[in-house]
């Protein structure tokens, strides 16, 4: 009797797990199917003809998608450069120096993430329009950097905070200048965390839609905007292929983040 109840429970759990897997994987499977469906209409449950015609169209060197991919990656690289240039000194100051009202500064960097952003972006777009920089890569990079700054500053602060102070003292004792100590001891030891924050900022920029929608259009066409246009235009194949291109780095990052962000750094984020 006990055995029966127990195996019933296991069967129920396995059923629930299968339902969960269906809900989780189903939408992604549907996306993958659309990307290789050359013709698919009701009442067919699966694509009528399969093929890679749309993949060839998307990956044609002169196609819109390759240009958008180039724009997206270029913007993301510039965003990482801007965010790290600002957050390495800020993170060091927040972790190591006596900063008055430190908690307030930490919160200030968080604020852009803590407010609903659409209302902010429409006003950023208005200001940029008056300055004549709306629709430029520069404007989009600024918006993405401000958005990503909380991650890069907080993670940089955590990474610097996790560096052993004894090692810095040892370097100072044998005669290294503060600047030399920073560049040859502190920064290399904090590098894994800072690289992780850079990857995070890169992904956030690659995936960003709302800010680019208001500040970048119509001149700056990133992959998310191309995906949006293709989806609203009813071209499910191009939309799905674009979505898959955006999906790959997100899933890889999810699988490998733990390698980059060590637990001792992660525990200090936001502290």
């Amino acid at each position: 009797m006990m055995r029966l109840a127990s195996s019933l429970r296991t069967a129920l759990a396995a059923f629930l797990l299968a339902a969960f897997a269906f809900v989780l994987i189903g939408p992604l499977a549907n996306l993958a199917l659309w990307s290789v469906a050359e013709r698919w209409y009701t009442p067919y449950k699966l694509p009528v003809t399969y093929g890679t015609r749309y993949w060839e169209q998307v990956f044609r060197p002169t196609g819109d998608a390759m240009a958008s991919l180039g724009t997206s990656v270029w913007i993301a690289v510039l965003t990482v450069v801007v965010a790290l240039t600002l957050s390495i000194p800020a993170g060091y100051a927040l972790a190591r120096l006596k900063l008055p009202a430190r908690a307030m500064f930490m919160v200030l960097f968080l604020l852009p993430q803590a407010f609903p952003s659409v209302a902010i972006y429409i006003n950023v777009a208005r200001v940029f329009y008056q300055l004549g920089i709306n629709g430029t890569v520069f404007a989009v990079v600024l918006v993405h950097a401000a958005h990503g700054l909380v991650y890069s500053v907080w993670i940089a602060a955590a990474a610097f905070g996790a560096v052993d102070k004894e090692l810095e003292l040892a370097a100072r004792n044998i005669g290294a200048s503060p600047l030399r100590t920073f560049f040859s001891v502190t920064l290399p030891l904090a590098a894994p965390g800072i690289i992780a924050s850079g990857i995070f900022v890169f992904l956030e920029s690659l995936d960003e839609f709302t800010g680019t929608f208001f500040v970048g259009v119509p001149q700056v066409m990133t992959l998310p905007l191309l995906l949006y246009n293709a989806a609203m235009g009813g071209n499910y194949q191009v939309a799905s292929i674009t979505a898959l291109i955006l999906l790959v780095p997100s899933v890889l990052f999810m699988l490998f983040i733990e390698r980059f962000l060590r637990a001792d750094v992660l525990a200090k984020v936001g502290a």
């Binding site: 989780l24 549907n30 240039t85 800020a90 609903p116 700054l149 995936d207 997100s250």
Partner: protein, 279 residues
Amino acid sequence: MSISQRQLALLLVAPGLALVAALFLYPLSFSLISAFTGPQGGVSLDAFRKAWEFYSGDVLFTVVIVLASCLFTGLAAIIIAGTLTLGENRWIVGTLKALYRWPLFIPFIVAAQCMRTFLAKNGLMNNSFVALGLMEPLQTVSFLDWRGIIATFVWKQTPFVALLLAGALAAIDRAMLEAGRNLGASRLRVLVELALPQVMPQLLVALVLSFVTMLSVLSVPMMVAGSQPTMLTVDMAFRINSYGDYATANALGVITYLLSAGAAIIYLKRGMAAKEGAP
């Protein structure tokens, strides 16, 4: 010439703060001023009157969708994190652990595109039900309305909340949970009565963050649901792109600030009450 450590610290933080000030604080004050300025200048609530007249239904729609999404996200996250912590079947726990995080970093716009195809009248979900014999082809309905928005939000946000919750649950004292089990309490009871009360703060933080995130997302309501009724983010974009009507759009923006401030205050109040209650 030498500067003190404090001055050096301020100097190092200043460039980052300048970016936040220019791209967040300045536009924020701009939106507040614009929302409270009348057509002839001067302080007025005209924009709010117009916003309420046109979009009061959408305010309600937004609140209901976001609250429902947070509720379902919380429930799903509790079930997942609870199973990961208290589950005894290694095979099930392992499979769940490998699966649940997949949507974690998937962008909202990709999630929206997935759901647009999956939840459609002839999408993979309905087709699978028909193929399994659970449904007749004529019974299928499209879920691309408020239900689709909620489904997309829950699908996308659950891994985040579950991840934080599972982390918090892993850190609490196992001995107490084991003691509860040994005294004969079911795993569900151990989870609800012993484990969850200890991780409420983490669960609330994750849900408040999700609440604000959902209030900020433009792509999901635009791509998953039709035009009416819709969420406030879409209304704001529409006021700007179609009419250049900044006053009404900013009034709607202030309403979204107030909604997220409400969520933050509920969280802070609970945090304070918990601190006062602690010995």
